[in-house]
């Protein structure tokens, strides 16, 4: 709501002329005033009004502007009348303001009091600019912000008024209808009232000024009061806080008062003080009195004395270092106040500092490194005793000599130039901490030194102190070490073997160059377990993490095979052997060799493939032999059966039938049928018995051998083997090789059952334990795919298999081997995933060796040649 409203703050601030609005001339009709007929002046009414205004100004200046507006309204008989005053803040008159505000309005526009118009774009501004009365008609046509100010102004008569020759505002009268029109008489009256407005404004400004001065003085007084109150409080707090001693005294030596802090310092009681026997002159040791005399002279001359250090006697006679400062009180010039600071702590620190300096001196004197100081000219100002040992110069001999004496001839210019540049620009020509340089001994020998130095600035002069360490021995050792490291690196490179150390507590890992090369990682990259993870083959990550976990807790040597997946998707096969050691603090560290066995692995894989093909051929061959022998053994009785049956039929076909003969042949047919059946039984026995040898054996040992044989295959299948072999396992009697075949078979089955498991570690547990009734039990648990409950009964049948690629013969063979050992082989599903196969065999089976000796074996090969 531009230009109106009680708030008084909604001034249009835009002073430029909006395009498309009416030109100023089109809304002015001032000239008409004198052409219009006008009524006679009513001087009586006018005088009455003026008297009222003047008395208002005297009695109640605050309401004079409103009274003026009402007077205009009354005399001109217009619809609205008011004042516009220049202002800055929209509330108070100010001749420097860039807008007008309406402090008072009478009539229909009264609700708009407080509103206003811009200085440079509005009717009031036009009046001040032209410095004369103007009559406007529908001024909102040019000044659109006046459009919302209702009711609209048909005509507006505006008169400027001035204070001390400066235009400060306008008074105005408005007609909202054509009920009457302003004329020359209105012009005269308004001009007259304008003069009054000027006086009223001046009076108002004077009042404002008075108000302002009064308030400023009040504020200043309040501040002074506050300051005084604060100061007083501060002094009182200082005295009461007893942080510093405060003492009242006179020039004659008496102490008239003191706070607790002072009494505490000098260890006197308040009673001692009041008795008057404590005098500051007595408290002061004789050698300090001349300082007191100086202070008293100052006091007499200037009324104060500068703080100075001195000592007091305590009551017990000990001395107290203090800082003393004070002033005479106003008055007769005899009494004063002083503050006393206890310097005991400062003195103690100072002494400590002196001690520390002494200590540094001792360090420098006894150091095995040469310590040399030079001034900003480069001349030696100090050298410690070690300088003689290292350089061959006595310290005294070096004093005043240039530092360059200690460096080889060809280096001197360089040093001097660098030194000068530093002094001039602050730019260092080398590292100041641990730089290796070549130095020169008195005997002309050059040798490597490690130099560290620093600077001190004192009184605008710089002093440089350097520590020079003879590192010729270390250099030799380093060279030897570097040579042997080069050997090692070459050896590692040749053998594709890297090495690393791993401090378990801090996870600090150091790799050899070759290991970086194998992992194909920049040798500047710090090694972390996480970094290694990014290279380990995703399928080996679980194994890796488990390995790390175990190594962390274990502290045993370990060995493992794993794969790396390189950024180019190639795979590297790694073989790591780690040795656990402990440092002098007992912290675990692994030193390990890691070999890239990819090439060997590929050869092995090719060989394994060839071997498995060979095994297959062998299996097929032996199956052929087996089939042939089974056929041979069975064909004998079958032949008898067929022949007998044929004979039987022929005998029955004769006339008369040979019934007796037929009966005999039928009987033999039956007998041969039974014989065939027996033959099958015997063949099965033959098949599972081979050549058994029995011996007393340690099942744990047999198991370990099998584990050793299978380990690489298990690792290849990423199986984590957990052997839990009982310590107190009794010996068993049996065929070692056959039992090992059973164990091997169980391990392979377990491994195969987990070949598709990728969402959990492929854990394989193999356990031995004593069983009831003098038996021993071995169990193999996997976390594999398991089997359907209905399949459990068929698992051990020959030729039954759940595996696509398997023969299924293994479990039935295993069971017959175990049964031959008078044992039992069974399977149970685990609580979690997978199954557990177990067998239990007696420790001392009776007559094992002879119990099932095969029947006379038929020679199957004694012919056909």
């Amino acid at each position: 709501m531009t230009g109106s409203g009680k708030s008084g703050n909604n001034f249009p601030l835009e002073a430029s002329t909006p395009t498309g609005t009416a030109p100023l001339e089109s809304i002015l009709c001032t000239e008409e005033l004198h052409r219009r007929p006008s009524g006679p002046p009513n001087y009586e009414k006018e005088n009455r009004a003026l008297v009222k205004l003047v008395s208002t100004l005297a009695d109640s200046p605050a309401t004079v502007l409103q009274m003026l507006a009402e007077t205009i309204l009354e005399i001109t008989q217009c619809d609205s009348a008011g004042l516009s005053l220049l202002t800055k803040d929209g509330k108070t008159p100010d001749v420097c303001g860039q807008r007008f505000y309406w402090p008072a309005i009478a009539g229909m526009w009264n609700p708009h009091a407080g509103g206003g118009t811009p200085r440079n774009f509005g009717p009031c501004g036009d009046v001040l600019d032209q410095n004369r009365t103007l009559l406007f008609r529908h001024f909102e046509r040019r000044y659109p912000y006046l459009q919302p100010v209702a009711p609209a102004a048909e005509e507006c008569l505006l008169v400027p008024f001035y204070v001390a020759g400066e235009a400060v505002g306008t008074i105005w009268a408005i007609m909202h209808s054509d009920r009457r029109k302003f004329d020359a008489e209105d012009d005269r009256v308004m001009a007259s009232l304008g003069k009054f407005a000027s006086s009223a404004y001046q009076a108002l400004m004077h009042i404002e000024d008075l108000k302002f001065q009064v308030s400023r003085r009040e504020k200043a007084e309040a501040e002074v009061r506050e300051l005084a109150r604060g100061l007083e409080a501060k002094i009182r707090r200082l005295v009461e806080a007893n942080v510093v001693g405060i003492v009242m005294w006179n020039l004659e030596g008496a102490i008239s008062g003191a706070n607790e802090a002072f009494l505490r310092m000098v260890q006197y009681e308040r009673e001692d003080l009041s008795s008057g026997c404590v005098r500051w002159t007595d408290l002061t040791p004789v050698e300090w009195r001349r300082y007191d005399d100086g202070a008293i002279a100052d006091l007499k001359a200037t009324g104060i004395f500068q703080p100075y250090e001195k000592e007091y006697f305590r009551k017990d006679g000990s001395r107290l270092p203090v800082l003393l400062g004070g002033a005479l009180l106003e008055g007769d010039g005899n009494e004063g106040v002083a503050f006393v600071l206890d310097l005991t702590e400062q003195k103690r620190q100072e002494s400590a500092r002196l001690y520390s300096e002494e200590r540094y001196r001792v360090v420098v004197e006894t150091a095995s490194d040469a310590v040399v100081s030079i001034d900003d000219e480069g001349s030696i100002v100090f050298a410690n005793p070690a300088t003689a040992t290292i350089f061959g110069y006595e310290p005294a001999e070096l004093a005043g000599k240039p530092l360059t004496l200690l460096v080889p001839e060809y280096m001197r210019e360089l040093h001097q130039a660098g030194f000068k540049r530093y002094l001039a620009t602050g730019q260092r020509h080398m590292n100041w901490q641990g730089t290796e340089l070549t130095a020169l001994r008195k005997n002309g020998e050059e040798f490597p030194v490690e130099v560290s130095f620093g600077e001190i600035t004192r009184d605008g002069h710089k002093t440089f102190t350097g520590f020079l360490r003879d590192i010729s021995k270390r250099k030799q050792a380093e060279q030897a070490l570097r040579r042997s490291e080069e050997f090692l690196a070459e050896a590692q490179h040749l053998s594709h073997t890297g090495s690393f150390s791993w401090r378990v507590a801090t996870d600090e890992i150091t790799w050899s160059e070759q290991l970086y090369r194998i992992y194909e990682i920049e040798s500047s990259v710090p090694v972390t377990l996480e970094l290694i993870c990014t290279r380990v083959h995703p399928e080996d990550l679980t194994l890796y993490e488990k390995m790390v976990e175990e190594a962390r807790n274990g502290g045993n040597d370990f060995e493992w095979h794993y794969r790396l997946l390189m950024p180019d998707h190639s795979i590297k096969y790694m073989h790591a052997l780690a040795h656990a050691t402990r440092d002098q603090d007992g912290r675990l560290e692994y030193i390990a060799a890691v070999q890239d066995v990819t090439a060997r692995k590929l050869v092995e894989e090719a060989r394994d493939k060839a071997r498995s093909e060979l095994t297959h051929v062998a299996r097929v061959t032996s199956l052929g032999t087996l089939t042939a022998s089974i056929a041979h053994e069975l064909n004998q009785p079958l032949s008898g059966i067929v022949t007998n049956a044929s004979t039987c039929m022929r005998m029955l076909a004769t006339d008369p039938p040979n019934v007796d003969g037929a009966r005999e042949t039928a009987r033999r047919t039956i007998r041969d049928g039974n014989r065939a059946s027996e033959m099958i039984t015997r063949l099965r026995a033959l098949f599972s018995k081979k050549s058994a040898t029995t011996q007393s054996l340690d099942l744990n040992e047999a198991t370990r051998e099998v584990i050793a044989l299978s380990l690489s295959e298990l690792q290849k299948n990423r199986v984590i083997l957990r052997p839990e072999l009982a310590h107190d396992l009794p010996l068993v009697t049996g065929d070692r090789v056959q039992l090992q075949q059973v164990i091997l078979n169980l391990l392979r089955n377990a491994s195969d059952a987990m070949s598709t498991i990728d969402d959990r570690p492929r854990d394989l547990m193999i356990r031995t334990e004593p069983d009831d009734n003098d038996r021993v039990r071995l169990s193999v648990s996997d976390v594999g795919i398991g089997f359907e409950p209905q399949a459990a009964g068929k698992l051990f049948d020959a030729f039954y298999t759940t595996k696509n690629g398997g023969m299924g013969i293994g479990l039935s063979v295993s069971r017959s081997i175990i049964e031959r050992h008078y044992g039992r082989l069974w399977v149970m599903p685990n609580n979690g995933p997978g199954v557990t196969f177990s067998f239990s065999i007696p420790c001392r089976p009776e007559g094992l060796a002879d119990a099932e000796t095969p029947a006379n074996r038929t020679d199957l090969s004694a012919d056909a040649a």
Partner: protein, 131 residues
């Protein structure tokens, strides 16, 4: 069926069976007799050689695989002695490579056990009436 004459006298030709398998020794002679031949059985090559039947045997039905002297060894021994007895080999083996070698050596036929009565009769007839 026209029955062949015995080689060494008698009405009916004598067929000797040599097999270590008892069921064959029991069953085969009965069948041969049903065919109308005379038949004798021997449990080994040695027993046959030491018998008095060598001259009278018109056809020898001989097992290949036997303990001691095998069928083929007996064949060679008879040849060595000049005893040209027609031989029909019988075998429980399934090895198909064996018969051709034996037929090459002069055998009439080689029958795989179990064989049918007609196959046997055909072989015996070929032995007794060579073409």
């Amino acid at each position: 069926m026209e029955l062949p004459k015995a080689r060494g006298g008698g009405d009916r030709p004598l067929l000797s069976v040599v097999d270590d398998d008892e069921s064959v020794r029991e069953s085969l002679p009965d069948l041969l007799r049903e065919f109308g031949f005379a038949a004798r059985a021997f449990s080994s090559a040695e027993e046959f050689l030491s018998s008095d039947c060598l001259d009278q045997t018109s056809c020898l039905i001989l097992d290949i695989a036997m303990p001691g002297m095998s069928g083929p060894q007996l064949q060679r021994e008879l040849k060595r002695r000049g005893q040209e007895i027609p031989i029909i080999f019988i075998t429980a083996s399934t090895d198909k490579t064996v018969p051709p070698r034996l037929l090459e050596q002069g055998a009439i036929e080689c029958l795989f056990k179990p064989f049918s009565d007609t196959a046997l009769l055909e072989a015996v007839n070929s032995a007794l009436h060579p073409r």
